[in-house]
């Protein structure tokens, strides 16, 4: 019987001293990654090491700031294209329920949305059993004063300044995002089953005489629909194009602004403004950015000096510092 066991065990490799090759090795790989020895950038933040950073920031920021400041201050000159804005203050166009009270699909010319506007438009969704086009509170509260600018020259009757209605909205808005509903010859026909917003005087297809600036693609409307971020804002109203390089766009002189007052703001302590401005590469006039850059640049320069002192003192006080640390 003993022999029997022997045979069996040999087959199975049972004896402990036999077959050493099958040993499994569970040693983890000795790679840099697994052993957490990846080469690494180990920044040590001390006065000495960051000194250059502060001086560099100072050196870069101050000129930028000055540049911005100068640009911003130069804006007042009425040269080149002049932009005419209307400004409203204390007007909360960013109120949540106001902001979402619109239907982009309808504005994009979707027929079904035109006739059945989104629920978000409530309570400016339907009027007298007809869908409102454009629906919603934003459209309903559209700014509808008209501003006209006249130059009072030497002559007795003032000459109107030509104000360009087109080109005040973003190109993508006018051409992609806002579209009139398809079908029909006239705009009126396309909007036939809809009604005008409650507050509006005229229906949407009568916003302008020019067909490519009428309906949903009316640029005044598009500009209004881009809701302002802050309660005091301005919106582009018209463009005053420069006619020639020789004459300023708006020559010096007395001007006359004719306002057709439709839009009440008193109830909410609002104010209306009209702004004429040119723009530079950095937009409208705003001194803040320039001043901020100059300030931060100076602070950082100053900090650099402070750190330099610290660094100097610290090195002197403990010369053996980097050894005993």
């Amino acid at each position: 019987m003993a022999m029997n066991y022997n045979a069996k065990d040999e087959v199975d490799g049972g004896p402990p001293c036999a077959s050493g090759g099958t040993a499994k090795n569970r040693r983890p790989d000795n790679t840099a990654f697994k052993q957490q020895r990846l080469p690494a950038w180990q920044p040590i933040l001390t006065a000495g090491t960051v000194l250059p950073t502060f001086f560099i920031i100072g050196l870069i920021f101050i000129p930028i700031g000055i540049g911005i400041f100068v640009t911003s201050n130069n804006i007042r000159e009425i040269e080149g294209n002049v932009f005419m804005y209307y400004g409203l203050s204390n007007f909360y166009q960013n109120h949540r329920r106001y902001v979402k009270s619109r239907d982009d699909s309808q504005l994009n010319g979707d027929v079904s949305a035109l006739l059945n506007p989104s629920k978000e438009c409530e309570p400016y969704r339907r009027n007298e059993d007809k869908p409102i086009a454009p629906c919603g509170a934003i459209a309903n509260s559209m700014f509808n004063d008209t501003l006209e600018l006249f130059l009072i020259g030497n002559e007795s009757h003032p000459t109107p300044i030509p104000l360009k209605k087109k080109g005040i909205a973003w190109w993508t808005d006018k051409n992609v995002k806002f579209r009139n509903p398809p079908g029909g010859e006239s705009l009126e026909e396309r909007f036939k089953d809809t009604t005008k917003p409650v507050n509006w005087v005229k229906p949407v297809y009568m916003l302008d005489s020019e067909p490519d600036n009428n309906g949903f693609i009316n640029e005044d409307f598009i500009v209004w629909m881009r809701t302002a971020a802050l309660p005091t804002f301005r919106k582009l109203y018209r463009l005053i194009e420069r006619k020639s390089d020789l004459h300023p766009t708006l020559p010096a002189g007395r001007y006359y602004l004719n306002i057709t007052y439709n839009y009440p703001v008193h109830s909410f302590d609002g104010r209306k403004r009209m702004i004429l401005s040119t723009i530079s590469w950095m937009g409208g006039k705003n001194p803040f950015l320039g001043i901020a850059y100059i300030t931060i640049g100076s602070i950082s320069f100053l900090l650099g000096v402070v750190l330099l002192v610290i660094n100097h003192k610290y090195r002197n006080s403990s010369n053996t510092a980097d050894i005993t640390i």
């Binding site: 003993a2 066991y5 022997n6 069996k8 199975d12 490799g13 049972g14 004896p15 402990p16 001293c17 050493g20 499994k24 569970r26 040693r27 790989d29 697994k34 957490q36 990846l38 690494a40 950038w41 180990q42 920044p43 933040l45 960051v50 960013n94 109120h95 949540r96 329920r97 106001y98 902001v99 979402k100 982009d104 994009n108 979707d110 409530e122 309570p123 969704r125 509170a137 509260s141 808005d173 992609v176 995002k177 881009r226 302002a228 971020a229 005091t232 919106k235 582009l236 909410f268 705003n286 950015l289 850059y293 931060i296 602070i299 900090l303 750190l307 660094n311 610290y314 005993t324 640390i325």
Partner: protein, 1420 residues
Amino acid sequence: MTECLQWARYHWQRLMGSTHGEDDERPYSYSSLLACRGAPSRTPKLAAKHRVVIPHLWPFKDEYEKFSGTYVNNRIRTTKYTLLNFVPRNLFEQFHRAANLYFLFLAVLNWVPLVEAFQKEITMLPLVVVLTIIAIKDGLEDYRKYKIDKQINNLVTKVYSRKEKKYIDQCWKDVAVGDFIRLSCNEIIPADMVLLFSTDPDGICHIETSGLDGESNLKQRQVVRGYAEQDSEVDPEKFSSRIECESPNNDLNRFRGYLEHSNKERVGLSKENLLLRGCTVRNTEAVVGIVVYAGHETKAMLNNSGPRYKRSKLERRANTDVLWCVLLLLVMCLTGALGHGIWLGRYENIIFFNIPEPDGHVISPVLAGFYMFWTMIILLQVLIPISLYVSIEIVKLGQIYFIQSDVDFYHEKMDSTIQCRSLNITEDLGQIQYLFSDKTGTLTENKMVFRRCSVAGFDYCHEENAKRLESYQEAVSEDEDSADTPSGSLSNVTKPRTSSCRTVHNGPLGSKSLNHLAGSCLALGSGEGASEVPHSRQAAFSSPIETDVVPDTRLLDKFHQITPQLFAPIDEMIPNPPLDTLYVIDFFIALAICNTVVVSAPNQPRQKIGLSSLSGMPIKSLEEIKNLFQRLSVRRSSSPSLASGKEPSSGIPSAFVSRLSLFSRMKLASPVEEEVSQTSESPQGPSNSACPSETETQTSDADPTDSKVESSPAQPLASDLCYEAESPDEAALVYAARAYQCALRSRTPEQVVVDFAALGPLTFQLLHILPFDSVRKRMSVVVRHPLSNQVVVYTKGADSVIMELLSSPDGASLEKQQMIIREKTQQHLDDYAKRGLRTLCIAKKVMSDAEYTEWLRNHFLAETSIDHREELLLESAMRLENKLTLLGATGIEDRLQEGVPESVEALQKAGIKIWMLTGDKQETAVNIAYACKLLEPDDKLFILDAQSKDACEMLMSTMLKELQKKSPASPERASLREGLHQAPATQDSGLRAGLIITGKTLEFALQESLQRQFLELTACCQAVVCCRATPLQKSEVVKLVRNHLQVMTLAIGDGANDVSMIQVADIGIGISGQEGMQAVMASDFAISQFKHLSKLLLVHGHWCYTRLSNMILYFFYKNVAYVNLLFWYQFFCGFSGTSMTDYWILILFNLLFTSAPPVIYGVLEKDVSAETLMQLPELYKSGQKSEAYLPLTFWITLLDAFYQSLVCFFVPYCTYQGSDIDIFAFGNPLNTAALFIIILHLVIESNSLTWVHMLVIVGSILSYFFFALAFGAMCVTCNPPSNPYWIMQEHMLDPVFYLVCVLTTCVALLPRFIYRVLQGSLFPSPVLRAKHLDRLTPEERTKALKKWAEAGKMGQGTPTYADHSDATEKRTTSGPASVFAMMSASSCPVEQDDLSVLETALDSDCCETKASGMAGPPKG
């Protein structure tokens, strides 16, 4: 709140888990080892704790149905889900997380039209993403389990089928309780079964249990009594008995029951008769058994507890801060609600701003304010970081992956590396304040080396052996490697199934699932066990250091005096042989046979070496035969009388008869062996003739047995024999005996053969073994001595126990002699203990046959009872083990593990208080403590050893006073907490004190009224050693310290007695050593050597803690900073809940664009390199004090977040004020700047940036721009009512956008940057200073490190000396007369004379009380 709910969820989970196995997650409990714990029964008919097993054959069909039909079958299912219930159940479980519930609430809230802030679907997104990620993870894990279950269930085994009247192949899953199963060699046991037949003539079956408990030695199992005698295989058809046994429980070491034959005869069953599922049959051709427990009711499955669930300290801290965030959120929302109400009050009638409801009516400002509150909650929900929990889990997986792949944790010899069994407490490793360590096997190697012995009062100090050990130390690694490599291969006998389980092991996730799967793997047997359990073969085939013992020359001389002549006239007893020689013989025989060692030859399977070799021995001469017959006749006359004396005596239970029959069978077999032993005794014996020449070679040859055995080539060489012992102590003793040519040659249940040098092979009839247990602290064998033919009991046990059981023999001279021996032995024992040796006493007792018979009968009654069996067996053992005669004592050295002193030193430097909890004697423990540098020579040592509670209290108060005197800085200790805070002060002042406390005193100290005082005392001590502590005390100590001091505790141990301690501590670490896997199974981390602990704590603990705490803080910062942008905007939109960012970008910002960098940071951040952390353990203290994440840090972080958000909002605000910018165009620079701020903030906080960081950071930024551009280009009318169409494109062309972003980012980050710079140069933390070291060249580094160390010492140096001199002065004045045995030991441990004086005084005190029957009046 969160914690509470998670706890509830966990418990619910466990409750749910119980549907398919109510016990599969039951944590291992030590109490089950100590006391029998009735497992809840699942059989309705037997609500009691018994189960009845009827054969699963149709003659018993009705009965079977009645009893066993309801037991579960062998199919296992460890999966939680099925295809059908996965979705509901997983969701159900996930929603038990408070955070998930919160987000569910938000999602639901958003469906209420009045408060809706976002689009309904969008708020669902984060929740859905998080739920999906976790569901996928759970699903994959479960699927893996399912696959393994399936594999196991479909394994094939041979089950008896009545139809075919033979054993047929069946799947494991179809095996039922009551089935007969036939297994061949090397097959895995499919279910727990009672062994009914073994092809082995002695009815033995060897099993390997490594898959179950990691113990690699073979265990013997025995066929049920009464079946062993049958020559033929047990026939299931004829089996008509029934088995009654206890209900399923998870105690691997216990099985109680009986087998009742049809004639009501009962046979006791014990664990010796039980084959456990998951074990492998070895060295036995075939076995047959009947299944008693199947499937989830098997002990292996019941022992399979799931992964451990713990909350780390850091997470608890984070949870409270989440609550702060909730509070902040509520405040912000209230502000919003109030603001909106007031704002609307002004414009109530302006329909521009107060847009009427669809039905035309206008809501009042108050109501609007109320609605706004909820809208705000939805809008600002991101403040509560949903991604935090997911990120933490991912980060921890990453951390565990790196811990597990650290090559430094790899232990070559055992081919094992660290196992992280607990996945969510890695960061706790960095905050440990108290470390509780076991001694044996944890600090020491648990390689028992025979060092000294004392026989009959003579000390044999084995100097040559000591020298060998010293010289061995240098070469130890190479030697052991070469010795172990080949043997290690055995455990790797490849099985086809192995690979499947191995694959699970790959990858970080794999390890997690493995923990779930432990049970399934176990069931697969040794192959799988090997993948989970790094078991070694060392226990089975010890390294040469343990096996080779160089004999002591003086002792050898004694051996030379032994000749067969001494015993030739033994019957007549005429000339008394020298008494000490007899002692020597008895002593070594006791060493060789008083154990449960299994003998095997490495080149041969374990087999009946004894029998086969005996048969090969020819009987030499007529004379011998004559001799033999003479002896036989003597015997025969005695044995029937023995039998007849018993049989009629009383109404003997039938089981007893069967035992007797076995007994007589042994008797019949014995003459043959007797004959052989006699042959060798005779002068003509071949071995004897070689004797003189051989003794000469002995002195020169370290292994002299070879020369002798060569003469009888049929026998395997004695030196080739391998001994497999349950404890290394035993093996050491057997190897020692072998060195003296008293080699254990074979062991069967009936007999033990010992090759005794001069006497040849002696065959002892093994009458009984009383195994070792921790209550008795001893074991005994009862044998019939071949020479004297007497019944002899050899007992081996702890000296304290044995000494109490001694009795003097009759006769004045003998008595006196015994007294002298006893005294001398006690001296030697004390000496051994002081040298750190483990001591054991060897004693014997001769019994008359009548006495033995009487005892045997009572013992049977105890064995066959089911109830109170333990108690009865204990009583029975007590009856046997008394009136012993002391033979001698042994001293075994347990060497310290490699690197232990260094590790202990480093950990102490790291501010961790180390307690050593051991069951060993005080002297041994103290010496090990010195050896491993737990105590230092000039430490002040307090020994707390009192006999009563009052004495203990007084002792402690005196010690406290003493200590407080030493540290005048702490005169008033009003409260315990204060006292604890003073503790570091005492450390700093350089006073190092150690406290030694004994188990008995510990009992008093742990009582309610003394706890505080005890803790106060220990708080003043650097190291505490608890000796003679029971496992229960160990856990109580840990519990006490943990709960009362509110500190982070870590317990480390290797044996079953450490399990409770490991479970109680915040972190339990198991050492996968030689004492089985129970400690590992209960642990959170399993390492293979103590020295690995220092890297685990100092490096990985530190890293994990700083990484995770910084990441959590960063998450809070990130969310607050970002959400506040929205909040500030509310001031400009009438608190109407408008968001200036598109909802998609808002949601994805947290979920996508800024989620990866912090996770990478949490996994890869490295503030200081591993080398520096190891060299400067002091750096660990920052984690202990939670410096990286203090409440203050949290608030500073929030403050910074507020500042940054203010900057991030108001810089663009001022820039765009009064312009025609629209909402989303205003939000875009805000968002972009916030992204840069948040990511660059992380860069500032990072200490090391690798390419992975760069990749992720750049990837995050690019993904943001890509998304914004793509979304802006394609989304014309999508996402109603409004979308950021073409805004990013416009801005990308606008220089102001860039200018704003750059300015905002710089201004926002400036303060933190400045703070870090100033911190770095003006008041650097130790960690920061250490970071500088990493940049130095190696030479500079070593120099700097030296300086650092000196600076550290300088801080403490002066007071140390002062205090020390003070201390020594104190001692000289108070002197050793100190009643409370309070002493400061300043001398070297080995020759602490003053210490020993005091200790003996104390010990005698202790002994006296013990002798007078415990609890004498306290002395002093």
